[in-house]
């Protein structure tokens, strides 16, 4: 029988990272993600890992930059206000083409906001977050199992494309306990060698990890190179979960924690005889735009459900078939309560047309 463990989402992230060979963690305490550094600080000594509780979020992302420049799998984790502080370093990592995992167990904002679950960091996560026009790979788990699985995938994608990766969770996913079936990490056989990493120049020419390009045309060429990588990821790496698309008249789309609520609401709607389908983006960048285009070739009504006042819905509108109608239902976080399936079901009924 497979081993099943009852663990918190945050612990699943830490377990997945250790299993995927990450041996460098740099972070700073912040609710609701502190279980991650707590778990790693306990487990890393057993596997020879390096854990540093840094003086700030800024220092931790730059320690990650340094370890990654040496070719090591490395990570940091934080929650929304801390992720804002890390944006400078994430921009430098993107510019320097450094892989690395940044976990955002998001809380509500703006400012200090609160510690409730929130999806209000969607824009920050998928549109670049820092200065200079770049993207990070953004993966959105919706279960404890996915917190584990997608952590491993994030390292692989990040290494493959030399683009920093973000795991975007929230306080519900981080704090809830659910069954996890751990499985051994298998590295993709075709991951490219890190022949750019610094190690001292013995036996080869100097290597430089940098984001400064001042020569004639250099920066433009560099930005086109980054752009081509983002295009390649858009072609090859989008992931989503779909259900009931064959006969769906209305498509519900949601990511992360709201997708859990959506699944229940869709089941309730189906019980009423409403043909409702699900499209759950797993990669928020690259966004599964083709999946939306394909699905809305049939289902012409889309209801986007978010725990904010409308962010992913913008990408949905850009992706759907031209004659599809996109509706939005969302609530800003902070009330200490999540929308209920019944609340979403009412919206489904409102926008459903046979």
């Amino acid at each position: 029988m497979q081993k099943r463990l009852l663990v918190k989402g945050n612990e699943a992230v830490a377990m997945g990272a250790i299993e995927a060979g990450c041996r460098f963690y740099f972070g700073y305490p912040i609710t609701p993600q502190s279980d991650i550094p707590e778990y790693i600080s306990r487990e890393f000594p057993k596997v020879g890992g390096t854990f540093i509780q840094a003086e700030s979020e800024i220092a931790s992302i730059n320690m990650l930059l340094g370890a990654s420049a040496c070719g090591k799998r490395a990570m940091t984790s934080s929650s929304s206000p801390g992720i804002s502080l890390k944006q400078e370093g994430i921009s430098y990592m993107a510019g320097s083409e450094l892989p690395g995992l940044i976990v955002n167990i998001a809380r509500s904002g703006p400012g200090l906001g609160g510690i409730d679950a929130s999806q209000s960091d969607y824009f920050q996560a998928v549109k670049g977050g820092g200065h200079g026009g770049y993207h990070t790979i953004v993966l959105a788990p919706h279960s404890v199992q996915e917190m584990y699985d997608l952590t491993m995938l994030a390292f692989d994608l990040s290494d493959r494309y030399r683009v920093p990766a973000m795991l975007l969770g929230d306080s519900v996913l981080g704090q809830m306990k659910e069954a996890l079936i751990p499985h051994p990490y298998v590295a993709p056989a075709d991951l490219p060698a890190k022949d750019w990493a610094v190690s001292g120049k013995a036996g080869r020419a100097q290597r430089v990890v940098k984001s400064l390009y001042l020569g004639d045309g250099e920066l433009e060429a560099h930005n086109w190179k980054l752009h081509r990588k983002y295009q390649e990821m858009r072609e090859r790496e989008t992931r989503c979960e779909t259900a009931g698309l064959d006969d769906a008249r209305l498509l519900v789309t949601a990511f992360g924690v709201t997708a859990r609520i959506a699944k229940t609401a869709i089941r309730m709607a189906r019980e009423e005889g409403l043909k409702v389908g699900l499209l759950r983006p797993i990669t928020l960048f690259p966004f599964p735009d083709k999946a939306f285009a394909d699905a809305t070739a049939r289902a012409k009504r889309v209801l986007c459900f978010e725990l904010n006042t409308g962010q992913m819905v913008e990408d949905v509108r850009l992706s759907v078939s031209r004659d599809a109608d996109v509706f939005f239902y969302g609530r800003p976080p902070g009330a200490g309560s999540l929308p209920t399936p019944e609340e979403l079901l009412a919206q489904i009924r409102k926008h459903y047309k046979d």
Binding site: S56, N62, K210
Partner: protein, 251 residues
């Protein structure tokens, strides 16, 4: 018996044989040479990873023939922490200016030092932000005019110049902290000795080592190179005394 000429002063191998972008009389070049000479002497060029900062020092990789990681402004000690922890057998150093290290990067330098990271930090103090055009730095002297202290640094408003070598020497994790100048041949020779002490501190695994170097910035001081060099002795050294503030090897 006949005689021949023997080379007694040569360009260090670890320093690329290229023209620098530094202004005439700027002493970054001298400090680069001293660091490169130490690399040559200890034979660590091939296992050195330098961490570049932001400012006039940013082109480190263009001048040192070593592997280099470029850090965001002020963050070099954090980047170097990641590098040294990932590659503990490498020689790791940062090279930072006063705006970078003593203003925006104060948090990173103090905590890297306090953790006793086994890195070496070269800190170039020229009392101004050079790259951005001569603004007031945390090390700008009282009454010194800069482009953002046009009436002179007013300590009532701007506070006092920070003495970083003394400040860091207070931290337990720091094994070596010293201040030198490169304004006279004698001081250059002494600076070379101190740089090598700092290298040795890291190579022996004794902890964090820090060398502050007083340096002239003729362009932004609005002085010719000789006057600027004279200012180092007349104004800087009295406020920033040359000394070794901590050396655990002597204990």
């Amino acid at each position: 018996m006949s005689s021949a000429l023997q080379q007694v002063f040569a360009h260090p191998v670890s320093l690329k044989d290229v023209q620098t972008h530094f202004c005439p009389g700027c002493q970054h070049g001298t400090i680069h040479r001293l660091v490169a000479e130490a690399m040559d002497q200890f034979g660590v060029q091939d296992r050195t990873i330098g961490v570049a900062s932001v400012g006039c020092s940013v082109f480190l990789y263009g001048y040192f023939d070593i592997d280099v990681v470029e850090a965001p402004h002020g963050r070099a000690p954090a980047v170097a922490t990641g590098v040294k922890r990932a590659c503990p057998d490498k020689f790791v150093f940062t090279y930072q200016g006063d705006g970078d290290l003593a203003a925006i990067g104060t948090s990173e330098i103090i905590h890297a030092a306090n953790r006793g990271e086994g890195m070496t930090v070269f800190f170039v103090n020229n009392t101004t932000y050079g790259m951005t055009g001569g603004q007031m730095a945390p090390t700008t002297l009282p009454s010194q005019k800069t482009s953002t202290s046009p009436y002179g640094r007013n300590v009532a408003n701007d506070g006092y110049p920070i003495r970083m070598a003394e400040l860091l020497a207070q931290l337990e994790g720091v094994a070596y902290s010293a201040r030198v100048a490169v304004n006279t041949p004698k001081n250059v020779v002494q600076a070379g000795r101190v740089v090598k002490q700092a290298f040795e501190t890291q190579i022996q695994g004794r902890g964090f080592s820090f060398v502050e170097v007083l340096s002239a910035c003729p362009t932004n001081w609005g002085m010719d190179p000789l006057t600027a060099n004279a200012r180092v002795a007349e104004e800087m050294i009295p406020y920033f005394p040359l000394a070794t503030f901590k050396d655990t090897s002597a204990a």
